[in-house]
């Protein structure tokens, strides 16, 4: 498992990941987020009922969030060193600033999605104008 990156390094690497995907015109980018509860493994062994009880009686302790990114390449690509895996850990207090940047990087990177369709509205306006000029 690779080492966790800092926020800046993570964003640089993620932007690079999106750029390579854009250039090759295909591929998948997988982003994952979860609570980073590495040393809480003891909690997981609780029974269903106990789990519910601890949840309702004790408030959830603060924990950082683990963010992972990958280009989801197969095993062959992994052997060729084409597999990219990134990860970073965000402290609860840094979440807002992280997600603001995250949104920007994602918006810029996911350019393969359909932009807002304005053709229908334009056509409607045209039709309306025509009606006006006729009347």
């Amino acid at each position: 498992m690779s080492k966790h990156l800092s926020q800046d390094e993570f964003f640089t690497a993620l932007t690079a990941l999106f750029t390579t995907q854009k250039q090759s015109q295909k591929g998948t980018i997988l982003l994952t987020q979860k609570r980073y509860s590495y040393d809480e493994s003891a909690k997981e062994t609780l029974s269903e009922q106990e789990h519910e009880e601890t949840l309702t009686t004790t408030p959830l302790p603060q924990a950082p969030i683990l963010i992972r990114a990958s280009n989801s390449k197969s095993k062959e690509a992994r052997n060729e060193g084409k597999k990219v895996k990134l990860s970073t850990i965000i402290q609860p207090d840094d979440l807002d600033s992280f997600y603001a940047r995250y949104a920007d990087v994602c918006k810029a990177g996911m350019s393969g999605l359909k932009p807002r369709d304005r053709t229908k509205r334009k056509a409607k306006e045209k039709a309306r104008r025509k009606m006006k000029t006729q009347a």
């Binding site: 987020q33 979860k34 393969g112």
Partner: protein, 163 residues
């Protein structure tokens, strides 16, 4: 695997799942891009550029998954304008998963009001069927008090079957 048709519904159920199983639930965002429609060899560069613009072939799938109970909640879109809103939702959910004070305190009451507003905003912004969203969210809100703990997983599964 069922997909939610509204991202607000996805957010609502994801936050319930997260409240039930904060330590094991993870959220994946999957962005796929496949090449645009094949371009004929005779196409001029200008045509190619235009084809690229028209043939946007990306889509985004966002999944909340809890390995412990096996609950999986999905939402799929291919609209670019939704990315910002979805990442914002990811941020909200991350705040809850991190157990931040402000999110935790208002989780039961204000969180749900927020959801209703979000649905209304989304519906109005898109200019489409907000009338359909609201009853669903309102109905879901009524169930919230019962769905506090881990039992929520089971309840959600049943609901998923109906969809």
């Amino acid at each position: 695997m069922p997909y939610y048709s509204k991202s607000e519904d996805w957010l609502h159920h994801s936050s319930l799942l997260l409240a039930a199983r904060p330590t094991t639930t993870r959220i994946s965002t999957n962005y796929h891009l496949s090449p645009a429609r094949r371009t004929p060899k005779s196409a001029t560069p200008e045509q190619v550029v235009e084809d690229e613009k028209r043939g946007k072939r990306g889509h985004l799938v966002i999944t909340t998954f809890d390995p412990k109970s096996g609950v999986s909640l999905k939402y799929k879109t291919s609209k670019a304008q939704e990315v910002g809103r979805l990442v914002q939702m990811l941020g909200t959910l991350a705040g809850r998963a991190a157990g931040r004070e402000e999110e935790r305190g208002v989780k039961k009451e204000e969180g749900d009001v927020e959801m209703g507003e979000a649905a209304a905003d989304g519906g109005a912004g898109e200019g489409q069927g907000s009338g359909i969203v609201m009853p669903v969210v309102a109905a879901a809100e009524k169930q919230v008090p019962q769905v506090g703990g881990a039992g929520g997983g089971g309840g959600k599964k049943k609901k998923k079957g109906k969809r």
